[in-house]
Amino acid sequence: MEEPFPSSSPAALLPRPEIACAQDALPPNATVLLFSSPDGSLELDAGLHYLLQAELAPRLLITRSGGVHAFAETKWFLGLAGGTDGARWLAARHNLVPVRQCGPWSILRSAP
């Protein structure tokens, strides 16, 4: 019989460090808007947000394809802002607060 082993390994025994960091920073019941560019728009590799959702559940990851997000829509944001400087720039532009940098992922929340 041929070896029926899966060709890909999307999930490890332990969460990736940046995911463990994001799990720590985001409340379990958070609804999180995902973005992929420093300007806040979303352009993801196919399947990436599925994997992120699987890793970050029970947090609900929502996506808005095309254009820039409406940053008033939710309280929590996760995205590729180009590092802490980019996160600060994005926060100042949309009245957000940078919460934590987890590897490439910036976590922000709406200002109180």
Partner: protein, 481 residues
């Protein structure tokens, strides 16, 4: 913490065994084979039952009752069922089934047993490697089934799991597997990879066990060993879609079919009817395809086995017992669909007009036909092989059992035809949809196909023996009701 998973599975097995006992399936002097079949069925039945109780608790009483309280409820349920079992335990003995007591060829039995043992070791080894490489399973496992389990496990955010925001994860899919995985998470206190991985192995092992033990009761040891080997080949191949709900569905479909065959073979095995109903209920609680299987199951039962003699009183009470077994999971599934699940995207966007498109139907038919003849387990074209075996060996079964086997054949055909029709109306790109799912769906019916052929063909080593006697005197003896 993962050590609590084992006691949790033992409680599920206890619940399953107690259900079988309470239905009258384990009389006082039950033989080894009766116990073995009950043991093989215990975990699948227990997992189905506890998935329902866990789901009901998760969505209703969790704020008030902690996990420890829920486990106490499960233990109380098992104890109550055990009390019912002990109170109504029939005293009849279970004589040795036909074909088991006098094997014709010990070397054949030895060879078969060694082969099954080797295949079993290879399956467990392959499962270990697959689990190590992808602890949360393959794509649909982490994107659908285990994802839903992670949501269900969360007291604060379980409703997120049914949000239309993640429609891509099919939040309308039924919850037998996610609820069972969430139960495992609850037992261990964390969303551990071990819960879905262990469940997957249980389902994989239960398929050859249940099929082989059913065939052993019907036709003897040699056909049972062939059944086990072929089913082990099927479940081995299924590791390419590790931790999906397809093999649990295959198990419940084959389990319901096996119980119906046994019940028809032995008219006094009344306890099998409600258990077959329970298995049929598990179909719709496992996957949406389960509805197709349930409709095919009921339709073929009525058409082939009931219609020729519809008025008999035992037939009516058997049907009622089946319905009673079916009802709990059917009600819970419908309740879930009405109260929590968003609309199914396939149904909402179905291309009904395509049912009249010859080109599309031809494409689907060609693809399904190619699956029928394609190499499967052991690099062999399993379906032509089974068909050839049946043609050579001939259908050798008691006259009274013939309608049940014919009904099963028709049932498998109906399910495949319905799958073909669903592909014809799919709103997804047809070629892509076929290539990514048809083989997986085909494997849902393979264990039932193996069961049907081996039950129909009987024992090749008893080629010159007379046909098994009529139902009332053969299988009836081995399965007191």
């Amino acid at each position: 913490m993962t050590s609590l998973l084992t006691p949790g599975m033992l409680v599920a097995a206890w619940v399953g065994l107690a259900v079988i006992g309470a239905l009258g399936g384990l009389p006082r002097r039950a033989g080894l084979q009766v116990w073995l079949l009950a043991a093989a069925l215990a975990l699948p039945v227990g997992i189905a039952v506890t998935s329902v109780t866990a789901f009901l608790w998760l969505v209703t009483l969790r704020p008030a009752v902690p996990w420890s309280g829920y486990i106490a409820v499960e233990i109380l349920l098992a104890a109550g069922l055990t009390a019912a079992w002990l109170l109504r335990r029939p005293a009849r003995a279970c004589p040795t089934p036909q074909g088991l007591g006098h094997p014709t060829s010990w070397w054949l039995l030895g060879l078969g047993t060694i082969s099954v043992g080797v295949l079993l070791v290879r399956l467990v080894r392959a499962w270990l490697i697959a689990t190590f490489r992808s602890p949360l399973g393959d794509w649909d496992a982490w994107a659908i089934w285990n994802l839903r389990a992670r949501f269900l496990f969360s007291a604060e955010a379980w409703r997120h799991g049914f949000s239309p925001e993640i429609a891509w994860s099919h939040p309308d899919y039924p919850l037998l597997l996610p609820s069972s995985v969430a139960r495992g998470y609850g037992l261990t206190g964390e969303p551990t990879w071990a819960a879905p991985a262990v469940l997957a192995l249980i389902f994989l092992l239960a398929i050859p066990a249940v099929a082989a033990l059913a065939v052993a009761r019907l036709r003897g040891t040699v056909p049972a060993l062939v059944t086990a080997a072929l089913c082990l080949g099927v479940v081995y191949s299924s590791l390419v879609f590790s931790q999906y709900a397809d093999m649990p569905l295959a198990l419940y479909f084959m389990g319901a079919n096996a119980l119906l065959l046994l019940a028809h073979w032995s008219p006094d095995s009344r306890w099998m009817w409600p258990l077959a109903g329970l298995m049929a209920g598990a179909l719709v609680w496992t996957k949406n395809e389960g509805w197709v299987m349930l409709v095919a199951l009921v339709a073929t039962e009525l058409l082939v086995c009931r219609w020729p003699a519809p008025a008999a009183r035992p037939a009516r009470s058997d049907g009622l017992a089946f319905a009673l077994g079916l009802l709990p999971m059917l009600v819970v599934t419908i309740g879930f669909k009405v109260a929590l699940a968003p609309a199914n995207d396939m149904v909402a966007r179905a291309l009904w007009a395509q049912l009249a498109s010859p080109a599309r139907i031809a494409l689907v038919a060609r693809h399904l036909a190619s699956l029928l003849v394609a190499p499967g387990p052991f690099h062999l074209p399993l379906v032509p092989l089974l068909a050839g075996y049946l043609l050579l060996q001939g259908a050798r079964m008691p006259a009274a059992a013939r309608p049940a086997v014919q009904a099963l054949a028709l049932r498998i055909g109906l399910v495949l035809a319905a799958y073909g029709a669903i592909y014809a109306i799919t709103p997804l790109p047809l070629q892509w949809h076929l290539e990514t799912s048809a083989q997986r769906l085909f494997m849902q019916v393979l264990p039932s196909l193996i069961l049907m052929v081996l039950a129909a063909a009987g024992d090749p080593t008893h080629a010159d023996a007379p046909e098994a006697p009529d139902a009332a005197t053969s299988a009836g003896e081995m399965s007191p009701g």
